[in-house]
């Protein structure tokens, strides 16, 4: 990491450390009940053991599998449907009412009915995640493809590019900044729905563990898993930002 970037992060990190210290002090001074909020140092010990013993890996990979599979499937469907709706008017007229019906619905509410059909296994969880991912990607792809400059399309036509290849080599790259913005929104949703479906089904993964520890009154463990979940979110965002910057490396740097 470059020194300037580190310098910019410094105040925020220092503030975070200060808060943790204050919490530690408040718990030790008896201002907060230890049973509800153990001191950060105690949570840290549990966290360290979870990581060092490798116990963290199973639940972590279970949740990440849901997130990645659902994200990939939902993104592909969202891009395909969004591009079709933008490109081909009959597809738009056919799908628009359906999309507008489902889009505003919090996708978390669809987990219970999906459980009826798909049970409580990974199929149901991945379907739920994919469903949540699809809509932001779809709507952004629709907008992005619609906004592609006419001049660019005509340039492809005058150079003899057929429609299908122009769609792949001109339209989708031109719409990519929009598509990626939708995918960034969806990535956050993917994690939410993955954790929620784990809680509702009571099976495996980080979401289930957080709920299970709370019910078993293993409070330190609960907080430790919560910290792990926060780090997962952070890492996913960083990974996506990195991939996005690479995919859009050609964009002119605006001063």
């Amino acid at each position: 990491m470059r020194p300037e970037r580190l310098l910019r992060l410094l105040p925020g990190l220092a503030f975070l450390a200060l808060l943790l210290l204050a919490l530690e002090g408040a718990v030790n001074a008896g201002l907060i009940r230890r049973a509800l909020m153990p001191p950060p140092s105690a949570i840290w010990e549990v966290l360290r053991d979870l990581v060092l013993s490798g116990e963290v890996l199973g639940p972590l990979s279970a949740t990440l599998r849901l997130v990645f599979a659902g994200f990939a499937i939902g993104s592909v469907i969202g891009i395909a449907l969004g591009a079709a709706m933008a490109w081909w008017a009959p597809a738009y007229r056919l799908l628009e009412p359906l999309v507008e019906m489902i889009r505003p619905l919090p996708k978390s509410a669809l987990v219970p009915p999906l459980m009826l059909f798909l049970g409580i296994g990974d199929t149901m969880k991945i379907t739920s995640v994919a469903l949540a991912v699809t809509f932001p990607v779809l709507v952004n792809t629709l907008q992005g493809v619609r906004g592609v400059d006419r001049v660019l399309l005509d340039a492809a036509r005058t150079h003899g590019w057929g429609t299908a290849r122009a769609l792949w080599h001109v339209v989708l790259p031109a719409a990519l900044p929009f598509i990626l913005a939708g995918m960034r929104t969806s990535l956050g949703l993917a994690l939410i729905i993955a954790v929620l479906s784990e809680m509702l089904t009571g099976q495996g993964g980080l979401g289930f563990l957080i709920l299970d520890m709370q019910r078993s009154f293993l409070i330190r463990q609960m907080y430790a898993w919560l910290v792990i979940l926060a780090l997962v979110g952070l890492a996913l965002n960083a990974l996506f930002a990195w991939a996005e910057a690479r995919a859009l490396h050609w964009q002119a740097r605006t001063p």
Partner: protein, 265 residues
């Protein structure tokens, strides 16, 4: 022999809450193989529309367009259109080299590597050797226009349709591009149709100049320049014939442009 023919071509655009707006009224024009023809007219008279119809990018409301004897229903392989908005016509995510390769890489039997080789040849022809790895936004307007020209050349067209390609660059760059365009036209035996509102540009480069009226546009005059070939785009401006034509066309353009004269033409 005519390689590009327009026959009674009309174009009207739907207008909001009224009758359709007639932009172009029965234009007929035969472009000879190998000639350099300019279409001259005031802004908004329908020059871009006419050229896009000729390029098969826009259907006419009536009339027919033929390229090499065949009726045009879509962009014909013989012709390439170079956009007035050249900056917007380049793919911003591609390097300059890959933008030029875009003209040929989709053709059967041409590998990506071969397309890039061909692109480098055309970049050399427009004096952009060494800029292949740049992105379009890193280049000046004049250089971007040369990328667009290189891309069109890479397609090895018989006909180049140029829509005000030199109007958005400074005067010196424009003269530079004029020379380049004449050189390319002479070397490659192209047929060029150039749309412009610049009288001097039209006269200096062309064999013939078609003067358009205001909307709805028709061809007011078709002038044979009779200027010598090969010619230098700068030196030709000092010949008496050039000055005579410039005077004549400017005069026609200004009177036709005058307020209230819209129907007299």
């Amino acid at each position: 022999m005519a390689i590009l023919e327009l026959e009674a071509v009309e174009k009207s655009f739907p207008a909001r809450g009224g009758p359709a707006m007639l932009a172009m009224d029965r234009i007929s024009l035969a472009v000879r193989e190998g000639e350099f023809l300019s279409i001259l007219g005031p802004s908004g008279c329908g020059k871009s529309t006419l050229l896009q119809i000729a390029a098969g990018l826009m259907p006419p409301s009536a009339g027919t367009v033929r390229v090499a004897g065949r009726p045009v229903t879509g962009p014909p392989p013989e012709a390439v259109y170079v956009f007035q908005q050249y900056g917007r016509s380049l793919l911003p995510w591609r390097t300059v080299r890959d933008n030029v390769a875009f003209a040929v890489e989709h053709r059967p039997g041409i590998s990506k590597a071969r397309a890039r080789e061909l692109a480098d040849v055309q970049l050399a022809a427009v004096a952009l050797t060494g800029f292949g790895d740049h992105f379009p936004w890193q280049l000046s307007g004049g250089m971007q226009q040369r990328v667009a020209l290189a891309r069109a050349l890479a397609a090895e067209p018989k006909i180049m349709l140029l829509d005000e390609p030199f109007s958005a660059v400074d005067a010196l760059t424009r003269l530079d591009l004029h020379r380049l365009m004449l050189e390319l036209w002479e070397k490659r035996g192209l047929t060029v149709v150039l749309v412009t509102h610049d009288v001097e540009e039209a006269v200096a480069l062309s064999d013939r100049v078609a003067l358009l009226t205001k909307r709805p546009s028709t061809i007011a005059r078709l002038v044979e320049t009779g200027l010598p070939r090969p010619r230098d785009a700068v030196e030709v401006r000092e010949t008496p014939r050039f000055l005579e034509l410039r005077h004549e066309l400017l005069d026609a353009l200004l009177t036709r442009h005058a307020p209230g004269d819209g129907h007299a033409a």
